[in-house]
Symmetry: C2
Subunit: 179 residues, 2 copies
């Protein structure tokens, strides 16, 4: 009877967790989707979205938010990881990036995606194990952490988005919801 | 023939322009809808939305954004007027308000609403004609500028939202789209 049960019991089916990572910028926005399975972590999508400089900030935010919305609907991530803003000298830029972040976090939350936010330092440490690594060092380590499909060229913004998603993989316990 | 034409020509039907005014705050958000008709300007809705302090900023922004979305869908404004952020000493608060603003502007733009933004000074001048008026003076002048339906109590945030919409009425040429 026990044996019978054992064989009729279906193995649990796990859906792979997907993380969308975002490096927010209203000129160039890096976005990447990583799929975490039991065997490997793989970048299944990455891009750098470029907004039209001739448009108003509100228009550019709307364009970028709607593009992110399409990516969320297509790849159905359960988690969104986004870089936190740290204050730099240009307060106007910081506020504009904050507005963009707000629109993206809102779009994610409305789609039922859980939001995680990381500082640039947290991302650096998660990827390189070292808080003072430069961008080159960070980028060189990424292919050791996730499987990257062949792509002729990736912009820095894309790597930053991948690094943000990797940080989420490293720091959070991501559940595998079943089908 | 000319006379005949004159009589068969239908008079143009004008839809009244509606402006949604927003005083953005993630603790308390003031919102008001003003209807501009040929004869008068009338507040047809105003409220102060209060978010749950126990929730994360992302959750609060999502709650407020979705409430604004419902108000836009119900009252169908063609224009959204929102207060601009000016930098105060608390940079963390300024960034959080910027995120909220971004979510609201995004929600408005996605619904085809045109966005206008005003500084606190511009709003003060539009309502009182004087840049150094205090809040009490501003509130006392509002009933002279728009018809206010009876309501037991209005919070300051609501008056600020009404003042923001009044600024838009005063400064922009609002078209009357026909039916």
């Amino acid at each position: 009877m026990t044996t019978f049960r054992k064989f009729t019991q279906m193995p649990r089916k796990f859906k792979n967790a997907r993380i969308i990572g975002i490096d927010p910028g209203y000129d160039r926005l890096g976005v990447a989707v990583i799929e975490k399975s039991l065997n490997e972590n793989k970048v299944i999508f990455s891009d750098c979205l470029i907004s039209n400089r001739k448009e108003t900030l509100a228009e550019r935010i709307t364009y970028l938010g709607e593009e992110i919305s399409k990516i969320i609907k297509k790849y159905k991530p359960t988690v969104l990881a986004i870089e936190k803003i740290f204050f730099n000298e240009n307060q106007k830029t910081a506020l504009a990036v904050a507005e963009l972040r707000g629109a993206i976090v809102y779009e994610g939350a409305k789609n039922g995606v859980k939001i995680f936010e990381y500082t640039p330092l947290e991302i650096k440490v998660a990827v390189t194990g070292y808080g003072r690594a430069d961008k080159k060092q960070m980028i060189s380590l990424i292919p050791r952490l996730v499987k990257l499909p062949n792509k002729p060229k990736r912009l820095d913004d894309e790597f930053d988005a991948i690094a943000t998603a990797i940080t989420c993989l490293a720091r959070e316990k991501l559940s595998y919801p079943h089908h």
